[in-house]
Amino acid sequence: MIQYLFVINSKGDLLLLKNYQRMPLAPDIAESFMENKNKVDIPVFKYNGLVHQYIKREDLYFVAAVMEGISEFLIVEFLQRLCQLCKDFCGVVNELAVRQNLMLLHEVIDEVVDTGVIQQTATEKIRPFIHSQPTVVPVKVIDQPGLFGVEKRVVSGSAANKPVILSRGDLEARRNEVFLDVIEKITAQFGSDGNLQRSDVRGEIQMKSFLTGSPVIHIALSDNIVIGTEEQKTGYGTTLLEDCQFHDCVKRSERKNTFIISPPQGEFLVCSYQLSGEVMSQLPFRLQAIVEDYDTTRDIELILKLHCDAPAAAKALAVTVTVPLPKCTTGITQRLDSSGQMAEFQREEKQLVWTIGEMFGGSKFLSQFKLLVSSRANYQRMEVGPIALSFELSNYLSSHLKINTVKVYEGSHTYVPYRWVRYVTLSNSYIFRT
């Protein structure tokens, strides 16, 4: 039983509050939460006799307070689902969206939680009871990297950030579209000799459908994919998707690698998987770091070479290389080989951040730096590194998975829907040891 729920921003301003207790709440509820949160670093803590749990998404905290004895998994999954519902109804989840859509969110939460008891959280079950109209918050285009759709048609990334529940005005103007995102996150660690020590790729296929009626969607994956368990053997050129978990509404059809989906409303996860097999060694980026310290001069030289091994159609935006530096470093001088790059020495964190604006597949970049240290005696070679790489690479997947066909069957309506497919590879923790 939830005692109370609230949403606050990172500064501690209370945006939304739902109290399920009999007595009114103290007015400083947000401040006491922030105070207690800063004392401990974990997402659950107890004060005022109640257990408080929170999740942090973007710059918002979703907080629930419960009596002791309630499963902490229940609350954290519920908060995650609540956040997802806000996204379905408002398009995005940030402070402005919450403030503009307060009444809508009150209605949604009232449908979902009654007197602290969780009722229903499926978007299509709740939708008939919601009468407020969403106010769509404009999303800054700068934050959204440009993305490529199928073939030559392009929409910006924010196109998928519309609320699934549209206001009456938008209903007539609605286009029938379905968005499919295949997102893979890579965790990799390379040794100081440049060899891959270990890697792990986790993929997700997400779907967001703005289609009228109740369509049935058939999706066919490319033939180089094998879905199964560890014991199955893979041939050359095939990728094994392990630990596949499908959503309840997905059924496998008799044809190979084809799925039949009856999508629920809102955004949902079609499938999540892990990769294994030979593709693990074909990772998109390689970095070489050379650290030289000559005894004659006082400066230490650092050379970074970054190669992108993806095919030319792939494009990475905002590639960032972060190098921790020794504590005695006072500054850097830099030499970069082309424009569109930037390097910065962050004094407090004692790290070097090299940013490349845009990087196409098959390209490489070189940068040279000299580290100025205050005292040579205190310099330790092992304080340089490990180097972290972060990127968002579109049009490339380590698994070489492709969605070959997306067919929409809808009995009562006749329309040709727009089908947008996006392939993105993200870095989860891409480390090079020095």
């Binding site: 007595m23 974990i42 999954e77 995650q80 403030r99 959280t121 304080e383």
Partner: protein, 576 residues
């Protein structure tokens, strides 16, 4: 920033609300009610405007109704007369053709504090309503009613009716009924689960929502199956729950299965193995809060989990961009998940994390390395080597943590002693950087245990003594005393001076135990130094936090003094 402009004066709002023109303007009504709600959230008292809100309740617009009901529910505690204004409207709404309006009215009626009879009759009627949406609200309203007037609900009629609803067609009604009964009957131990109810709930287990399933499984733990076959049949029926995409369902299912297989311990581990897949998926997700709880769960059940996850221990390695609380939890867990063959790999990985910028994370990594040492003593050399390298970082937090950990390592072979010597020598080079007393005490203990091989130890001890003349902490002085005594027994000629200085300092300490110990040791050495040597070097001596434990033999000679009668400097004790 807000959508509702800035009204700060409630009377202003009240004036607008009471205007005639407002009657037809739904948009304006919604706007004003929304403003009131927001002000209430910010802590402004809106009691003045409540009468006007009550007047808006009979509106035809459902949003206005919802907002009005919400405001009433939140404020009825501070304005009891409000209830009288709205009871009639709400009773009429309970017969409205729209089920959403009926449900809303039932909810609101049951939160009014001074209309219990009305509320009771309303709820009884609503429990039989044709629409499942209304029945759901009615069941939950029983909880509200119970909170405000328990006598009304203890009236057996209501409880029986809710028990009947366990057989309802709608899964959410059933789940709500389970929750309501558990709450209302909490004093009597919650809902009663007999065999027929248990089997009924289990047969419907596929129809519940994820939240309902968790609640039902929780409550089903009260049921004990009569035979092992029944337990296995139940598990087969609910097996699909172990692969659910919602982690709370998986965990609830695991706990339930483990409860019903209490008599069959060999199955307990099988259950966890079957649930392995959802765990593995969470390990590579970025939902850090959920991951934290999963890691805590694995830590709690480490005895069963360690063999299941040991082949996949690399999935538990820390990732660069994870928040500190995740890294620390993983570091707590890792030493228990690996088998000996993977020890080297783990040590390499952990030594990398020891250099992390965050102090808590690097301390956790060092402690993890010492736990690896505890489990697999064969890695003694490697770990000591890693620690020695880390001392080069000249980071005070790292040095302190390493010293407190290494103190607990025992001495082994010649090679091991050699490595330990190197570590101590390195530590002595950065002795100024040590910032807390526990670590200084740890260093002193190490010096004492290995002091006979290290040159210059007496002079080092003297230096430490001189630098910290004014340090009166218990831990430090005890450590200094015992170290000086031990070193004196090894190298009497060199350490006689320093022992004298230390003892003189300690007899003036503000801690009575330090003084007692000093006098005792002084007498012991006076009486028979060879006995002292036998005591100190025959069994290991530990300094644990703020307590000093000597060997068993020495404790026989301990004399404890009641408060106020401590001997002063120069006193002599006689042993009996």
């Amino acid at each position: 920033m807000s959508a509702y402009g800035s009204f700060n004066d409630i009377s202003e709002l009240k004036a607008i609300l009471s205007k005639e023109e407002l009657k037809g303007d739904i948009g304006q009504q919604r706007f004003l009610l929304g403003t009131l709600l927001e002000l209430h959230v910010q802590g402004v008292s809106i009691d003045e405007a409540l009468a006007e809100v009550a007047k808006l309740l009979p509106s035809y617009d459902i949003i206005v109704k919802k907002l009005a009901c919400l405001i009433i529910q939140q404020n009825v505690a501070s304005a009891p007369d409000l209830a009288l204004l709205v009871v009639n409207t709400l009773q009429r709404d309970c017969r409205d053709p729209n089920p959403a309006v009926r449900a809303l009215a039932v909810r609101t009626l049951c939160s009014l504090p001074n209309a219990p009879d009305v509320a009771q009759t309303t709820v009884l009627a609503a429990l039989k309503d044709g629409s499942s949406y209304v029945r759901r609200a009615a069941v939950v309203a029983c909880i509200r009613l119970h909170r405000s007037c328990p006598e009304m609900v203890d009236n057996a009629q209501l409880v029986d009716r809710v028990y009947d609803l366990l057989r309802d067609n709608d899964a959410v009604v059933v789940a709500n009924a389970v929750d309501a009964l558990d709450n209302i009957l909490r004093e009597e131990g919650g809902i009663v689960i007999n065999r027929s109810i248990a089997h009924h709930l289990l047969s419907k287990i596929q129809t519940f929502t994820e939240w309902g399933t968790v609640r039902v499984l929780d409550v089903l733990k009260k049921y004990v199956p009569k035979t092992d076959e029944e337990a296995i049949e139940i598990m087969n029926m609910c097996d699909f729950l172990l692969h659910h995409s919602n982690m709370s369902v998986v965990i609830a299912a695991i706990k339930f299965f483990q409860h019903i297989t209490k008599n069959m311990p060999q199955l307990q581990k099988c259950i966890l193995e079957r649930a392995k897949r959802p765990f593995m998926l969470i390990l590579s997700s970025t939902n850090y809060e959920l991951l934290y709880f999963v890691l805590c769960y694995i830590f709690q059940t480490i005895d069963q989990c360690s063999s299941i996850f040991s082949t996949k221990h690399t999935k538990f390695y820390c990732r660069y961009n994870e928040p500190a609380f995740i890294k620390i939890k993983k570091l707590q867990l890792l030493p228990y998940l690996v088998v000996e063959e993977d020890g080297c790999e783990l040590i390499e990985e952990l030594s990398l994390i020891c250099m992390d910028v965050n102090n808590d994370v690097s301390s956790a990594a060092i402690i993890a390395l010492s736990k690896v040492h505890e489990r697999f003593p064969t890695f003694h050399q490697e770990i000591l080597q890693k620690f020695t390298q880390l001392l080069d970082l000249k980071n005070d937090n790292v040095i302190c943590t390493i010293l407190t950990c290494v103190e607990k390592f025992g001495g082994r072979s010649e090679d091991d002693l050699d490595q330990m010597k190197k570590l101590i020598e390195k530590a002595l080079l950065c002795v100024d950087l040590i910032s807390n007393d526990e670590s200084r005490c740890a260093l002193l203990t190490l010096l004492a245990s290995h002091g006979k091989d290290i040159a210059n130890v007496p002079y080092i001890l003297e230096e430490i003594f001189n630098t910290h003349r004014d340090n009166d902490s218990f831990v430090f002085n005890m450590g200094l005393l015992l170290a000086a005594t031990k070193l004196f027994l090894w190298r009497p000629a060199e350490c006689q001076d320093i022992l004298g200085n230390v003892m003189e300092r300690c007899t003036n300490s503000s801690h009575c135990e330090v003084r007692c110990k000093t006098i005792f040791l002084y007498n012991l050495l006076q009486v028979d130094p060879y006995v002292a040597k036998a005591i100190f070097f025959n069994s290991s001596e530990k300094i644990v936090g703020s307590q000093c434990l000597d060997t068993n033999d020495a404790s026989q000679n301990e004399v404890s003094y009641p408060e106020g009668t401590q001997p002063r400097e120069g006193d002599h004790l006689t042993h009996s």
